[in-house]
Structures are given as C-alpha cells and as structure tokens.
C-alpha cells in the first residue's frame, strides 16, 4: 500500500529560555492512502506536536517529512500554506470556524485561498453541507449553531478542496458523548463514501474503535502500533 505521509526520525526541540524541551524524539510513522488512522497519546506524549508535523503546520528541528513522496521538512511558510490548503483538511477540537462568516462561507473559505471561482465555490460548499446533513443551516453563523452542527460545518470545510488527508484533532473533545458519537459515525461514513485518508489525534481510548489502525505515542516516540480498538492494558 502507498504511504501518503511518512515521518522519518523526526525531532522537535523547543527552546524555552535555557531549557530545551524535546517534544518529539525520533518519531517514525507512515500513513497509508485511504486508511482511518488514530494517533493516540496522553498529554505530554508529543501528540499535538506530531499533529503539527503531519499537518505541515510546523517544520521539524531534525528529520524528514514526506507528503505524497515530496520532502516538505524544509519548505517555507507560504509554500506550506499552499500545500496544506490543497492536500490537508483540518478538523479542530474547538471547531475554529470564522465567527463573522455563515456556514456556507466558512466552507467556501479554503477554496477561496485556492482561487476557485465563486460559483464553483458555492456549489461545492452546498454539496458538502448536504453531505454532513446541514443543508437547512447553510446561512447560519457559527454562534447560531450547536456544537455538533459546528463540527459538521468544520468537517465540510475540511473536505472543501478535496484533500488527500483529513486531520482531526480531538474532534469530539468539546461535544457531549451522544453528539461525539454522531460526529464519529459521520467521519466513518465519509471515510467509506469518499475513500479519504483520515488521521485522528486523540487521548480518548474510546475513539480508537472507529479507526483501522492506531499508533500509540509516548515520550515523543511511537511505542506500539495496534490494529482496531485499543484497551487500557495496551498503554500501561
């Protein structure tokens, strides 16, 4: 199977004054095209930093990152932005919608940065909002939507530029358990329907049952790879 993302011996060292914090210490991982993958770790395991690396939000101190076979570890900020816009869709724990824009406009925004014309943007955004069952809320602003609805808008936004990878950072972290389940089922459905590669970063054991494979992170390194759901025993 083709690896769409590959991290090779990735180190990330933050300097906080005189103290050096090693957030990632030789992280190796591969993401295969079309899979639903979880990166699991407790807080402090380097989970968030690994998300930044995988999502091309930051560059490593050391090591190499390949996206679609291309080494992106040395790209500058603007090239990374372009790359992210095209190839990666983000879903955040706190939704991160733009408050001044309607649901439809939020979904249109990533396409705007790719210079897609307005008519096409509107059509695609409408279609995506239908896919997440929000066709009746397209002209509402984020503060007029419930948490679950906001996350659906965020998922539609993540799919706007038809990216190869959808990266979800604790996607149910701010939702009650019932809504969380709905969102996870939506992910699963979209995974099946669009054959997208989905990478979820979480510290919630219960979510791993939705994915096909899980990397367990500890101290900035992968300590285990597990197929299917993981249990408490596996991480101690």
């Amino acid at each position: 199977m083709k690896a769409i993302i590959k991290l090779e011996d990735v180190w990330k060292i933050y300097e906080l004054g005189d103290v050096k914090v090693e957030a990632l210490r030789g992280l190796n991982l591969e993401v295969y095209q079309g899979e639903f993958l979880t990166v699991f770790g407790k807080s402090g395991s380097g989970k968030s930093t690994s998300l930044n690396m995988i999502g091309a939000l930051d560059i490593p101190t050391k090591g190499r990152i390949f996206l679609d076979g291309k080494n992106i570890s040395k790209l500058d900020e603007s090239d990374l932005a372009q790359l992210r816009g095209k190839k990666i869709g983000f879903v955040f724990q706190t939704f991160n919608l733009i408050p001044s824009l309607t649901a439809l406009e939020n979904v249109m925004l990533p396409m705007m940065f790719q210079d897609i014309n307005r008519d096409e943007r509107i059509n695609r955004a409408r279609k995506l909002l239908e896919d997440v069952q929000l066709e009746h809320r397209i002209n509402h602003k984020p503060n007029e939507l419930s948490g679950g609805e906001r996350q659906r808008v965020a998922i539609a936004r993540a799919l706007a530029n038809d990216p190869e990878v959808v990266l979800a950072d604790e996607p149910t972290g701010n939702l009650d358990s019932k809504t969380g389940e709905e969102i996870m089922n939506l992910f699963k459905g979209l995974h099946k329907k669009f054959k997208k590669t989905i990478i979820m970063v979480t510290h919630d054991l219960g979510l791993t049952k939705y994915s096909e494979r899980t990397y367990i992170l500890k101290d900035g390194k992968v300590i285990k790879t597990v197929k299917g759901a993981i249990t408490k025993e596996m991480i101690t």
Binding site: E77, G85, N96, L109
Partner: protein
C-alpha cells in the same frame, strides 16, 4: 485569492465590530471634514479677492502709506501735498485721491456698518470714468452732488427690512444723505454694499482735513510699470522725508493678498492635518486590537491554506476601508459645513464664496485611504507573520 474577495472579507470584519470601526472612522471624518471645508472656503476667498483686484485695471498704480495692508506701524498718512507732488510726474495721465472709511448707516430704524468711499471708482470726476461703476438705476455723482450718495445693490435690497429706492434718505454717522443711484449687482461683497459719496462730503463727515487714504495714478501707455514703481517710491519718500510709502500695482497687491491667504490656509489646514494623524493612530490602535483578538482566526486561516500575503492583504484592506469610509463621509460633511458657513454668513449679510474643487476631493479620498493603509501596515505585518502553530494555540 482575488482582490474582490479580500475586500469582501475585510468589509465583513469591519461590520462585525461596528462600534469600534465606527469610532475609529470618526477620527478620520473629523480630519477630512475640516480640511475640505477650510480649503473650499479659502479658495473661495482667494477667488473673490482676485475678482476685486481685476476691477482696478492693469495700467495704474496705487500709492499708500506703509502698514495700510498690514499691521499699523505708526506711519505718517498721505496728504494732499503728496497728491500735488505726484501730479507733476510726466508718466501719469492723472492722479486721483481715494478715501474709504467704515460708517454706521441707518435706514428704517435699522443700523448696519458698511464702507463709505470716495475713490478712483466713484469720484465725481470725468477722469475717473476709466474705473467707472455700472448703474442699475439713477446716476453717478457729479460736481453738485454734496449730500448725495449712490449705493450697492445688496445694501439697497437685501440689508434692511425695507428696500431703499432712488430718492430715499439714509443716515450715515447721523447725517442725512439722499440716494441718487443704485449700482448693478457685481457679486462682490465690498462693491455690492458700498456707499459712494463726494470727496467733500467724506472729508467733512470723517474730519479728514487734508488726509488721503490712497492715491490712484493712471499711467500713460507704454511706460514700464516696474521701474516707475521704484521711481515713484524713491522720489515720494524723498519729498516726504520718511521711508514709509508703498507703491503697488494691482497685480502686486493681489499677489500679496493671495500670499497671506495662502499662508493662513496652509497653517489652518496643517492644524487640521494633525487631527488626521491622530485619526491614523486610532486606526493603528484598532487594528492592533483586532489582530490580537483574531489571533486564533489567523491561525485557522493559515491552516486551511491562507498565504502570509493574503492575511496581510485582508488586514491592510480593513485599515484602508476605515480610512476611505472616513474620507467619503468627511468629504460630504466638509462640503456641507462650508455650505452651511456660507449660508450662515449670508444670513448675517456677508457673502462668502466657496469653491468645490474636484482635485481636492479626489486628493482627500486618496489621502484618507493612504492614511488607513499606512496605519494598518504594521498590525497587518504582525498578523501575517504569526506562526499557525502558535496562533492556533492562542486562547
């Protein structure tokens, strides 16, 4: 990202913080309003002064004591002796004395203050016809015109509750005069409100004895004005034994007045410009706050593909829009204010010209936008340089 999308997005962000945007815009409005109204007024003033001087003709010179068109500096007034001395110059066709005084005029139990004159334009002297006034009704003064006056059109029709007709009597400094002529309306506030009387009457009324306010000399054809001005000044000062004479051509006088108006308007507009600087600082302040508030949003936009240049563009456009909106409203208010000043002044009997100059308006709009851009530049650069990772983590 297309420019119209950037504009649309910027506009949305401004509307989102209506109150703050509004307050920031007011800073620019005040500056542009004052600049537009002051320039309109000062250009109007300059134009009417140019008009006044045009009627003085081009082939003559005006001799006054120093300080008459500036602060009083205790100089010796011109006298009839000076007039006689100047009559001996071969270069002059003739010389005429001029008198101008302000006086209280009473008609129909109402009193106003206006100018009373016996000048080159209205002397009962056939030589003065080269400067002549045009009459709408009645006639000019002549040699037997003691106790008669002619008056300007505005003074006749629009100054008192009742209109002054030919043969009406008016009182000037409590002395009765008969109106024998009314001038055609000229659009000049001095001429339209003037009272012309005979040389003898004005001397008696103001107790002038042999004092003359100004001497107007008509120069013969073909004489070089510039060298004549020098010569007249030198010789008259020798004769009077004091260096206190101004000899000027109407063109020079006009230039002098224009210069004064120019300096005054530069100073006044300069002061108004300070308020624009303050307005610009207001924009910068508002934009810094906005960048801080939207740190997370900037991170999100970057995460979903916004380049640094696009973030920069969005924020600069926001600042430019604040400037431009302030400029548009300011121009509109500036025109309105100058119109209201004109209206208010004309109710008080003073005619003020205002000139609406399209170039000034365009300049004000561009300038207000430039102020916005300059003020927004720094905050925008800060926004665009934020690292997505840090911005996304910002609480």
């Amino acid at each position: 990202m297309e420019i119209n999308e950037i504009i649309r997005l910027s506009f949305r962000n401004l509307i989102r913080r209506k109150l703050r945007s509004g307050l920031t815009v007011i800073g620019i409005i005040i500056g542009i309003t004052s600049i537009i109204s002051l320039i309109s007024l000062s250009q109007g003033l300059e134009e009417s002064i140019t008009g006044e001087f045009a009627r003085l003709g081009s082939n003559n010179i005006i001799i006054t004591q120093k300080g008459l068109s500036g602060p009083p500096i205790g100089t010796k007034a011109l006298t009839e002796k000076d007039l006689e001395f100047l009559e001996k110059f071969n270069e002059f066709e003739f010389v005429l004395p001029g008198y101008i005084k302000s006086a209280e005029v009473e008609f129909n139990n109402q009193k106003v203050v206006t100018l009373v004159s016996a000048t080159a334009q209205n002397l009962a002297d056939e030589r003065a016809e080269v400067f002549g006034f045009e009459f709408a009704e009645g006639r000019n003064l002549n040699d037997n015109s003691r106790g008669d006056v002619f008056i300007g059109d505005v003074l006749a029709k629009d100054t008192f509750d009742k209109e002054i007709f030919i043969n009406s009597n008016i009182e000037i400094n409590n002395k009765r005069f008969r109106v024998i002529g009314i001038l055609k309306r000229e659009g000049s506030q001095e001429v339209d409100r003037i009272i012309g009387m005979s040389e003898e009457d004005i001397k008696e009324l103001f107790d002038l004895e042999d004092t003359v306010n100004a001497i107007n000399a008509q120069v013969k054809e073909g004489v070089d004005l510039d060298s004549l001005v020098e010569e007249v000044k030198r010789e008259l000062e020798d004769f009077r034994d004091s260096e206190d004479i101004d000899v000027q051509t109407p063109a020079q006088l006009q230039e002098q007045f224009s210069n004064i108006i120019g300096i005054v308007s530069i100073v006044v507009v300069g002061i108004a410009a300070i308020s624009l600087v303050v307005g610009g600082i207001g924009i910068a302040n508002s934009m810094f706050t906005s960048v801080l508030e939207r740190t997370r949003e900037i991170g999100v936009m970057k995460a979903i593909g916004a380049r640094n240049s696009e973030i920069l563009g969005i924020f600069i456009w926001e600042a430019a829009t604040i400037g431009l909106i302030g400029g548009i409203i300011g121009v509109f208010l500036g025109l309105l204010v100058s119109y209201l000043i004109k209206l208010g002044a004309s109710l008080g009997g003073i005619e003020i010209n205002i000139i609406y100059n399209l170039n000034v308006i365009i300049f004000a709009l561009v300038f207000s936008m430039v102020i916005g851009i300059v003020s927004g530049l720094w905050p925008a650069v800060q926004a665009s340089r934020q690292k997505p990772v840090d911005s996304l983590r910002y609480e």
